[in-house]
């Protein structure tokens, strides 16, 4: 029969050693986690010359596997195509980042923002205004 005391003593030694280690706890609302540089969080529409870079080419809704992006094209004063409506449903989004990869004009990016909780279902559909990059 193996000696039952040695493993217990070893275990006790390990647990006692842990007492003197620095806790790994992150005091979450007070302390913020550092998200990775390429973390895929909430989307942002990039801004250039005070308007969104998006040209409403429909590549992002096409590539989106979750079908969560709604785009409607409009025409501005210079007869340029722009996104009159750009919405992402965060309840459907799977944060795969394909939309960012697909974008031919580099108009879309993903931020480190991950606190997307809300009180009403409608609030999870992010409109163009809410998606615009904050400078």
């Amino acid at each position: 029969m193996p000696n039952p005391f040695t493993p217990i003593m070893q275990g006790m030694k390990i647990t006692l050693g842990h007492v003197f280690k620095k806790p790994v706890t992150l005091m979450y609302p007070d302390e913020r986690p550092k998200v990775a540089e390429r973390f895929r969080g909430l989307h942002a529409l990039k801004v250039s010359h005070n308007k969104a870079k998006c040209v409403a080419c429909y590549l992002c809704p096409t590539v989106c596997p979750a079908k969560c992006i709604t785009v409607e094209a409009g025409e501005d004063a210079n007869h340029d195509k722009f996104a009159a409506k750009y919405e992402i449903d965060m309840l459907r989004c799977i944060f795969c980042g394909y939309c960012v990869e697909a974008c031919p004009v580099d108009a879309l990016k993903m931020t480190g923002e991950f606190e997307l909780a809300n009180y009403r279902r409608e609030d999870f559909v992010f409109t163009k205004e809410r998606l615009l990059e904050k400078k």
Partner: protein, 364 residues
């Protein structure tokens, strides 16, 4: 000698009431802060922080928990036996506290010119020149610790729920199995002291001759006693009665509010009590260095030892997983019981040849 009641001086009664109050408040506070200490210590051992939101370093956590439980709804299941259901938490709690009546928590100290022994049912007899206490103190401790199981069985049965019933049954089976080993493990101590009085047991260990290291027989007995008491108060690794994964919450599944808290208080009070009994029987009670010169040190030594044993229990809880039921029964009946029986025989034989202690074994 002033007024006498039933042949004892008045100050004896005043001192006794004071000692009851002090001991009760002390145990109650220890129970409250043992929950906090346990959460903190287990937190640290798991490289966490533990409670730290209520008050500085979370020190108000037990008060917050108590208040929360007071304001919770009292639920009595429709199918429960109401009387037994209400009675069970009390039956579990009272024996846990009542054991402290016989445990000496300090030497005899002089207060306002009176010799007061720090033991609730003890008084200093100036005529004999020694402390008189209950001469079957250990039996009283064993009796009271066995009463605790009734509360749990009653709770399990009165709840009229299958989880509660199985939890209660497991608990009673476990407590009865391990009480045998715990009771038998004390016998070598009696054989050496030749008395059941707790004062005599402490006196026999005076001058750092504590049983845990003074004699090989009592060393083994002390180890077995500690493990058996862990099982008796349902601490991990023997916390099968409340095995969440199998039994929801065991015998207290149907309890809510303060009645639920009373089971937890009983569990922690039992932990304090068995630690105190262990200290008295094997760790020299209030004995320690310089205690004969400064008797006020004795309660401090006692508290320090009790707290150390409680820390040990928490440490064990943070380390060891729960026993399987058949392993538990195997350990109780096939390992610990024969070992204690053999130990009694060995103690008797060794005593016959005068080899009680380590020094007796290895020459002086």
């Amino acid at each position: 000698m002033g007024i006498e009641i039933l042949g004892l001086p008045l100050y004896y009664y005043i001192a006794m009431v004071a000692k009851v109050l002090i001991a009760f408040v002390f145990v109650l506070l220890t129970v409250a802060y043992a929950t906090y200490a346990e959460r903190k210590i287990i937190g640290w051992m798991q490289v966490r922080i533990g409670p730290n939101r209520t008050g500085p370093m979370g020190l108000l956590q037990p008060i917050a928990d108590g208040l929360k439980l007071f304001f919770k709804e009292e639920i009595i299941p429709a199918e429960a036996n109401k009387f037994a259901f209400l009675l069970a938490p009390l039956v579990a709690l009272i024996p846990a506290f009542i054991t402290f009546a016989v445990i000496p928590f300090g030497d005899t100290i002089k207060i306002f010119g009176y010799d007061v022994p720090l033991q609730i049912v003890g008084y200093y007899d100036a005529g004999v020149g020694k402390v008189v206490d209950m001469n079957v103190g250990v039996l009283y401790v064993l009796a009271m610790s066995s009463l605790g199981v009734y509360g749990i069985v009653l709770a399990g049965w009165a709840s009229n729920s299958k989880y509660s019933l199985i939890g209660g049954l497991r608990s009673s089976a476990q407590m009865i199995s391990y009480e045998l080993a715990a009771g038998l493990a004390i016998i070598p101590v009696f054989m050496l002291v030749e008395s059941l009085s707790l004062q005599e047991i402490i006196k026999a260990q005076a001058g750092m001759k504590w049983f845990i290291w003074n004699s090989p027989m009592t060393f083994v007995a002390g180890m077995i006693f500690y493990v058996a008491t862990l099982a008796e108060v349902n601490r991990t690794p023997f916390d099968l009665p409340e095995a969440e994964t199998e039994l929801v919450s065991g015998f207290c599944t149907e309890y809510s509010s303060m009645k639920y808290a009373m089971f937890f208080m009983a569990e922690y009070a039992n932990m304090v009590t068995v630690s105190a009994v262990m200290v008295t029987l094997f760790l020299g009670g209030w004995d320690g260095p310089f205690v004969s010169a400064i008797p006020w040190l004795s309660p401090l030594y006692f508290i320090a030892k009790v707290y150390f044993l409680m820390f040990l229990a928490m440490w064990i809880r943070a380390t060891l997983p729960r026993y399987r039921y058949d392993q538990l029964m195997h350990l109780g009946w096939k390992v610990m019981l024969p070992t204690t029986l053999a130990l009694i025989v060995v103690t008797a034989v060794a005593g016959h040849f005068g080899f009680y202690t380590f020094s007796g074994l290895f020459g002086n």
